[in-house]
Amino acid sequence: MSDTVRRLERVLNPRSVAVVGDKRAMGYFWLRNMSTFKGKLYSVQIDPNEIPGILELGVSNYASLLDIPDEVDYVVCAVPRPVAPRIIADCVAKKAGGVSLFTSGFAETGETEGIRLQERIATTAREGGLVLIGPNCMGIYNRRLGVRQAMDQPSGDEGDIGFISHSGTHAINLSLLAASHGVKISKSVSAGNSAVVTPADYLEYMAQDAETKVIGMYVEGVQDGRRFFDVLRRTALLKPVVVWKGGASEGGRRAMFSHTGGLATSSTTWQALVRQCGVIATDSLDETVDVMKALLFMKPGTGRRMGLVALTGGQSVVITDAFERAGLEVPLLTDRSYDELAGFFNVIGGSFRNPLDAGGTLGFGAVPENLARMLRILDEDERIDAIAVEVSPRMMARRMPGDETAPDWLPDMLAAHKERSQKPFLAVLHPGHLEALVAQERQKYVERGIPTFAGFQQAASAFAKVVAYRRFIAGVE
């Protein structure tokens, strides 16, 4: 384990946290973020006007980090920029594990003074063996220990995903959106300017962190490209890495003499990197969460042949289009499957070529067993590798006469299928005109560990990307 990774182990799993420079004007933002922290929390603030408010929060306050009668594993520094260098020096003197510098106005401004100050604190940190996160960042999130970047982040239980982000907002929003889909971020780092510790370092940490089953990243630019490439390549072989790249092509030195120099852009180079390393590239927050869902909640598999179940003719056409467009196959089933389907399928207002247009067969009387039969048939069909089912909002909204609650037979049945089947399984829950209902119903699927997607295209795309990753790892094609 490298020095940096060992130090990150301490900082990312702190037993004690100190917040320096929190203020009423910020709503004691950082201290409140840490109100869920399971370990020891301390405040450092010398302004006498601020101290009563801090004490009211139940946090003990000190004039300096060096006065704290305890080791300090993680420091959040929120002081004004001119004061930052002294606090960083204090962190070194205190032998703190690491410090996250919330303060901005450093190299990200592009101004001489900001750049100079950043270099100065970076040097202090490096020479002192101090982990410096940022500057200009939202620091660390540790779900289990209750170290947070925002007050609405969940805490107290364990998670599965390690997230590394150049943006604090994206780190926070990702954790919140993911949580509402049953995807639990165990740790995240808002890396800010990455003056000392870089995404490559955090990747090395996540690669060996037992709490991280899948790694996610939001990346805007890379400073240590060669190292980043090496670490990413090795890491992606150990755990799935989902990379959401932000930012248009950066300017760069363009070679004038060769064809290659004229054609290679930072965008084509990034694409090459992604393909070579076998990472899963995403373009948005939603897509990143979709892919994480597919990775966590779908059984592993490398096949691309889909068995599709939709509820009307129109939907069965569109679902097939979506999956085929994503590069997947929708093959004919075996004769054995067709024979069995013919036994109970209602072909008036329905068909069962694959896709299965099942509305007429499930019917207004909602014969649940027929859906279970369809899923079993697809599960047993050797021409099918994975199954996707449309769950329409109207079907979800259908009530039994006199019963106000939506039927649970549907998520229960799909959960039972998923439990029994070895094939990857997806459910498409399009909100349609019943967004609020679907959001509510979706929780039942989240609770049962069924991955759901807000549309056919989203489902197909997430599935295709995950399968491509699995095939890469398996050395297929």
Binding site: G225, F229, A255, F257, S258, T260, L263, L273
Partner: protein
């Protein structure tokens, strides 16, 4: 001359652009087949070289200051007799001097005309962040106009080489068309891997173009090559 000595000599001369002859010599050392070129400094030398390599030949201007030879009228192809070679030599020198009067002219390279094959291009340039990037594409106007190329970071694996070739939209052209024999895709993949190895071992190389490479059903050969030092 060995790779190291060629590079040293260029450094001593204070230039970064290697000549076609030098570039090809280096690539041959690296195990990459090229249409070997000989340097001729007089029309007579050109004729002698042509006789040695065998007609028909191609003559190209050799100058560290001229990067786009065709643009200055510095390329003459399909020369079948000593007289044609002599005339071509003089025309090339004159055209180059006219287009770039200040250019240092080393002479003219003479190489045997390669049998036409499917044109592909391979190249390398340095990315400021990620270092050497390898490129593959179908050659000629397909690269210039359609930019139908694939990239990978050095070092590449056999899988990367395979994907680089498969990713090209014009890949079906490699299967041969209108009577053109198909390209030896395995040979192209091997070439990419050799190039990647070579680039990894020589960080002093900043850019590299193999354009065109002629691909045949049983191999491929770099017909022109350009190497630029960092």
């Amino acid at each position: 001359m060995s790779i190291a000595s060629i590079i040293d000599r260029a450094k001593t001369d204070g230039r970064k652009l290697l000549t076609e002859v030098e570039s090809k010599d280096i690539l041959e050392e690296a195990g990459i087949p090229t249409a070997r070129a000989r340097l001729a400094t007089t029309a007579d030398e050109a004729v002698a070289a042509a006789k040695e390599v065998g007609f028909p030949v191609a003559l190209k201007i050799v100058s560290p200051d001229i990067t786009h030879k065709s643009d200055v009228g510095g390329v003459k192809l399909n020369l079948s007799t000593p007289d044609e070679v002599k005339a071509a030599f003089d025309e090339i020198i004159a055209a180059a001097k006219k287009a770039q009067p200040d250019a240092t002219i080393d002479g003219v390279s003479v190489q045997k005309m390669a049998r036409p094959g499917i044109e592909v291009i391979m190249g390398m340039s340095q990315d400021a962040q990620f270092g050497p990037v390898l490129m593959f594409g179908l050659g000629g106007i397909l690269v210039e106009v359609l930019k139908d190329v694939s990239f990978r970071l050095v070092p590449i694996t056999p899988r990367d080489a395979r994907q680089m070739v498969q990713e090209i939209k014009g890949r079906p052209l490699l299967e041969g068309y209108r009577g053109q024999e198909p390209a030896d895709v395995e040979a192209l993949e091997k070439l990419l891997l050799r190039l990647s190895d070579f680039i990894e071992k020589h960080p002093e190389i900043a850019e590299l173009d193999l354009n065109p490479i002629f691909a045949y059903k049983d191999g491929a050969i770099a017909v022109d090559a350009r190497i630029i030092l960092s």
